[in-house]
């Protein structure tokens, strides 16, 4: 009815509104700033609170960055690692079939044809003092330098490796075959502190270069020296060629035109480290998982710290609200405070994380080198990591703490009446969690038997790992409830009843401890079982007393000598070449797959008695020695899903007229990541493969007839033989020594995992500590009540301790089956599928006990310290003044 037109605001009114808005905003900013100042003053009075939050964040970020740095560096190394001073080759020309070396003339042909982007390389194992073997690599250093320079000009990649300062190398001497070698600085410091090394009875000068150039534990020399030392005059191990990917077909036809056919050299394209990345994925995933766990626990510590400091500031916050500071400003100030703490904590964590990575580096490098043959470059770090860490931590911290802040500012004084409802809510959450956990476990249990792929198994393992901690709160409830009937009325009854109430606030910390403990127990089980399996397997495999690996030109004479030696009771040989195994086309295998394998053959006795067969055709021994039947190693069989009776083809058998063979047996091959195939001697000879074995083994007579030689006698004999046969200590090994070294290497390989495990457990323990600390604060009132009712201080302390102990013990008890479950999955699924090694699971009580002991000790400390502090103060004041 009223047709009044909409009045527009007058300019002055607009101005006023604007002013008001700015004023409000300014007010808001001012209030925020004021609040912040108050908070800072609060922290100044109680720096431990800020310290706790920072500690949590720093711990979280430390492990996160530490592992991330390690993993990133490793992956970078795989793609960037250099072919010893030049970039990773695109193509390798390797020795032709059934040969170990390439003729030099191939390289000369390449150079003369103008294919200057190629590098001649010789490599091999060379013995040093004390029976050590070194990997010696030699190449034309000038060509290597030229290639690297031209590649770095052409390369657009941002992370090409840096180049060595050649000014420091005596190029003149190196090129001239002078007895000088190069190794990475860390290795040189270890083995040649005076700058000299003895190899193959020659003393060599050692030059140390930066670890950056990826030499790892290899020794580099110029080809003029290397060929002499390795006794490979006129031969090469391979030729590395560099060419643009698009030009590769052209290159191949060029090689054909030059007459470099497969008779002279095998052509293989390289994958820029992809294979290595795939192979090591499991290892890195393991590290990542642990770092995530530690990250979560660290954040939990920070979360607790925030909760605690909020609790302590409750009155303060209420007063601020009453003073007239808006909720909005308060929230902003709290947010800002959190952001500041996250940034500081993350930065601290970043630095210590890099330090951690640096410390872990040698262990990781050892593992990777032993298991995968990968050389690790020393770490570089990037600022982006810090920003990523801050971002991640910030998001997680805000996510976790936002509810806290909202709760706080929404209700001035929570408490009392609501607590009961809170409890009910918690109970509900716990039962939901339990149900969820059961669901997840069921899913995993159903899927696991069907999972053949290692990746799927890993996902399932992750599901189990998530499910395990979710079981805990409900189980704690049930556990405590089960104990309740046992309790006498009075303090015991109260103890248990209150323990039930404690489960909710402690659940997070205990879940972390459970997970860390389970992981710990499972890893220890894996390592322990593996070690046991390895020992047993070595027992079977090693039957001879001495193992001899002479230089190839001397093997014939030594073999003859030993054959005529009266002390020898049995002489065994092993032959070896590289070969290609082709799998037939099938439904799983649409295109023919060719796998490079190490082809072995042994004497009959060794084959029959030491092959450590996993499974075999019943007719194996009847047909093995006179038909094309082969044995394949377990890793090979598992990786390519080979079964007994499968027909495959070996290029090495071409000369027999039929390269097809049947798989007659699968044998254990623990610790070996390479693919291996064994054929019988008759077949080997029929295929016209090299006649000379690569290594020999001998058993000796003991004093009495038919007995074996004793340990002491063997030592003497070994020394004698070494002199008689002109062998260095490195070329003749006793069985015991092999076993010892194998186990030692094995232990070193797993050291990194065990260290990380322990670190994670420690972080979890710190989490528990912070939870207990907070809890003790919150329990002032109940403790005061009991005190007022006549419970003595000592009784109070004992009670609190008992409560903690019950919770921790139940958790530790649960860690046993969960740890066993994880261990079982790790052993029988993950390791088997990833590496192809069958390991018998052996439960190690000692390891379990150790882990529990650590957990108990840390928990005890975590409880006692705050408790002691708490109960020394006057208790009842809190009843009368504080409303908690």
């Amino acid at each position: 009815m009223n047709n009044k037109p909409l009045t527009k605001a007058t300019p002055t009114e607009l101005k006023q509104i604007e002013l008001k808005q700015t004023e409000l905003k300014q007010t808001w900013l001012r209030l925020t700033w004021l609040s912040l100042k108050v908070f800072i003053a609060h922290y100044r009075h109680a720096p431990i609170q800020a310290g706790a939050i920072l500690l949590g964040i720093a711990l979280a970020v430390t492990l996160l960055i530490g592992v991330k740095a390690t993993n990133d560096n490793a992956v970078r190394s795989y793609s960037d690692a250099t072919e010893l001073l030049s970039q990773r080759a695109d193509v390798l020309l390797t020795p032709p079939l059934a040969q170990n070396t390439l003729d030099e003339s191939v390289y000369f042909d390449l150079r003369r044809a103008g294919l200057s982007q190629s590098l001649a390389v010789v490599n091999g194992k060379i013995s040093g003092k004390n029976g050590q073997f070194w990997q010696l690599e030699g190449s034309d250093l000038i060509a290597a330098l030229t290639l690297q320079k031209s590649r770095s000009y052409a390369s657009t990649e941002t992370h090409s490796t840096t180049s060595p300062q050649m000014n420091d190398l005596p190029l003149a001497d190196l090129l001239n075959g002078a007895p000088t070698v190069i190794m990475s600085r860390s290795l040189a410091d270890k083995v040649a502190p005076e700058g000299k090394l003895v190899l193959e009875n020659s003393t060599l000068d050692v030059i140390a270069i930066d670890d950056n150039f990826g030499l790892g534990s290899a020794i580099l020399a110029d080809i003029s020296l290397a060929q002499q030392l390795l006794n490979m005059q006129g031969r090469l191990s391979y030729i590395a060629m560099f060419s643009e990917r698009e030009n590769l077909p052209q290159l191949k036809s060029q090689l054909d035109a030059l007459g470099i056919t497969p008779q002279k050299a095998s052509f293989s394209q390289q994958d820029q480290g992809q294979a290595l990345i795939a192979l090591t994925r499991s290892f890195h995933l393991n590290l990542n998982a642990m770092s995530m766990l530690a990250f979560v626990v660290g954040l939990f510590i920070a979360y607790n710290g925030v909760r605690y400091s909020l609790m302590k500031r409750q009155k303060l916050l209420v007063q601020l609200l009453q003073q007239g500071i808006e909720r909005r400003a308060l929230m902003t100030a709290l947010m800002f405070e959190l952001i500041l703490l996250v940034v500081i904590g993350s930065s601290l964590g970043f630095i210590s994380g890099l330090q951690l990575s640096h410390w872990l580096q040698p262990m990781v490098a050892m593992t990777l080198e032993q298991m995968y043959g990968a050389h690790l470059l020393p770490g570089i770090w990037q600022w982006t990591w810090l920003f990523e860490a801050i971002a991640l931590t910030l998001i997680a911290a805000l996510g976790a703490c936002l509810p806290l802040y909202l709760d706080l500012t929404r209700q001035a004084l929570a408490q009392g009446a609501n607590r009961y409802q809170q409890m009910q809510a918690h109970r509900k959450t716990h039962s939901i969690q339990f149900a969820l956990a059961c669901g997840l476990l069921t899913v995993a249990a159903l899927l696991f038997p069907f999972s053949q792929s290692y990746n799927i198994s890993l996902v399932l393992l992750g599901i189990v790992a998530i499910a395990i901690p979710l079981l805990l709160p409900q189980l704690l409830h049930w556990g405590v409830s089960a104990l309740m009937p046992l309790a006498r009325p009075g303090l015991w009854q109260y103890l248990l009843a209150e323990t039930r109430e404690l489960i909710a606030p402690l659940s997070l910390a205990m879940m972390a401890i459970l997970l860390a403990l389970s992981a710990n127990v499972s890893m220890n089980t894996l390592v322990g079982s593996f070690e046991q399996t390895l020992r047993t397997w070595l027992e079977t495999r090693l039957h001879a007393d001495l193992y001899i690996r002479p230089p190839s030109q001397r093997i014939d004479t030594i073999q003859t000598q030993l054959m005529h030696d009266p002390r020898v009771s049995g002489l065994y040989q092993q032959w070896q070449i590289e070969a290609q195994l082709s799998l037939p086309v099938s439904t799983d295998n649409p295109s023919e797959q060719t796998i490079p394998v190490s082809l072995l053959s042994r004497d009959e006795f060794s084959t029959r008695h030491t092959s450590a067969l996993k499974e075999s055709l019943p007719t194996l021994w009847q047909s093995y020695f006179n038909a094309p039947v082969i044995l394949v190693s377990e890793p090979l069989a598992i990786k390519y899903q080979l079964q007994l009776g499968d027909s495959v083809s070996l290029d090495a058998l071409k000369q027999t007229g039929n390269s097809q063979a049947i798989i007659g047996g699968i044998y254990y091959d623990h610790g070996n990541t390479r693919n291996e195939v064994i054929i019988s001697q008759p077949l080997w000879q029929k295929a016209q493969l090299p006649l000379l074995p690569v290594s020999l083994a001998a058993s000796f007579h003991g004093n009495e007839q038919g007995s074996r030689i004793s340990e002491a006698q063997l030592d003497q004999l070994q020394a004698q033989l070494a002199t008689e046969l002109g062998l260095s200590q490195a070329e003749i090994y006793s069985q015991t020594k092999i076993k010892t070294q194998a186990i030692a290497m094995f232990k070193r390989t797993f050291s990194i995992t065990l260290v990380l495990n322990s670190l994670t457990l420690i972080v979890a323990a710190i989490g528990l500590f912070s939870a207990c600390l907070m809890l003790t604060q919150a329990r002032q009132a109940p403790l005061a009540r009991l005190y007022s009712l006549g419970v003595s201080r000592n009784a109070l302390r004992a009670m609190v301790f008992m409560q903690m102990l019950i919770v921790v013990l139940i958790t530790c008890l649960l860690a046993m089956p969960t740890g066993a479950l994880l261990g079982y999955l790790l052993i029988n699924k993950i390791t088997l599928q990833a590496f192809g090694w069958t390991i018998k699971m052996i439960w190690d009580w000692q390891a379990y006990g150790k882990a529990i002991l650590i957990a108990l000790t840390t928990c005890t400390l975590a409880v006692l310290l705050p408790l002691y502090w708490q109960t020394r103060k006057p208790l009842v004041a809190s009843l009368q003044q504080e409303t908690l």
């Binding site: 607590r419 009075g490 109260y494 109940p782 009712l789 003595s792």
Partner: protein, 230 residues
């Protein structure tokens, strides 16, 4: 008016002084006071706020120690008492009722009441049944204490305080969190039950109506206590 010395006071304060520092100021809460409570006596402790009434209760309960003077509880001097002795005293001979109820939340009503008993290994007695009935807690026995109303909780607190028939009951504003009607009910019950169990009551209160329920009144002001009969 000097208190006629009756034999065997439950609690006796001899020249007890207590002060505390509050920032810059030093408050002398009790200045050489001499007080006694005898068996069955009920005393109201009044005074301006901040005068230290709670402090007096604390001293008797052993939560604080006097600066000088001596406190005798059941004829025993408490100057040498350690935590052990105090705890025993509290278990055996003391009952406390607070403004904040302060019940043991994990336990239900019955267990709360029985708690003090169980501390001294005493079983549930007919006296407890009587208390429960009198305080109207029978239907609530197995309920969790947090589900009760304020008045109900206070009644549980009283039951708990009296269950072990202590010689002395200390109450710190027991009706502070209750409305008038509930408050009066609670006070009546308390006095009746205390009489039946021969428990002395020392009650801090601001409320005149509550103070009226007590036989005596101690008025604490500036360190000195004035004793009145009612």
């Amino acid at each position: 008016m000097a208190d006629v010395a009756k034999p065997n006071p439950v609690a006796k304060l001899n020249q007890v002084s207590k002060g505390f520092r509050d920032g810059e100021q030093y408050h002398q809460v009790l200045q050489a006071v001499n007080l006694q409570i005898h068996r069955g006596e009920t005393v109201a402790l009044t005074g301006p706020s901040g005068s230290g009434k709670s402090t007096l209760l604390n001293l008797i309960a052993g939560f604080e120690t006097p600066d000088s003077g001596e406190i005798l509880l059941e004829q025993a001097s408490t100057s040498t008492w350690q935590d052990k002795e105090w705890s025993r005293f509290r278990r055996d001979s003391l009952g406390v009722v607070f403004q904040q109820f302060n019940l043991l939340t994990p336990l239900n009503v019955k267990d709360n009441i029985a708690f003090s008993l169980s501390l001294t290994a005493q079983p549930w007695s007919p006296w407890c049944d009587y208390l429960v009935e009198k305080l109207g807690l029978l239907p609530l026995l197995h309920r969790p204490v947090e589900a009760l109303s304020g008045g109900q909780q206070q009644r549980v607190a009283i039951a708990r305080a009296l269950a072990h028939k202590p010689t002395l009951l200390l109450a710190d504003e027991p009706t502070g969190n209750l409305d008038d009607v509930s408050g009066k009910q609670v006070m009546a019950l308390l006095c009746e039950l205390a009489r039946e169990s021969q428990t002395s009551i020392l009650m801090v209160t601001h409320s005149e109506e509550c103070a009226a329920f007590m036989q005596k009144r101690w008025h604490l002001s500036q360190g000195a206590v004035a004793i009145y009969e009612q």
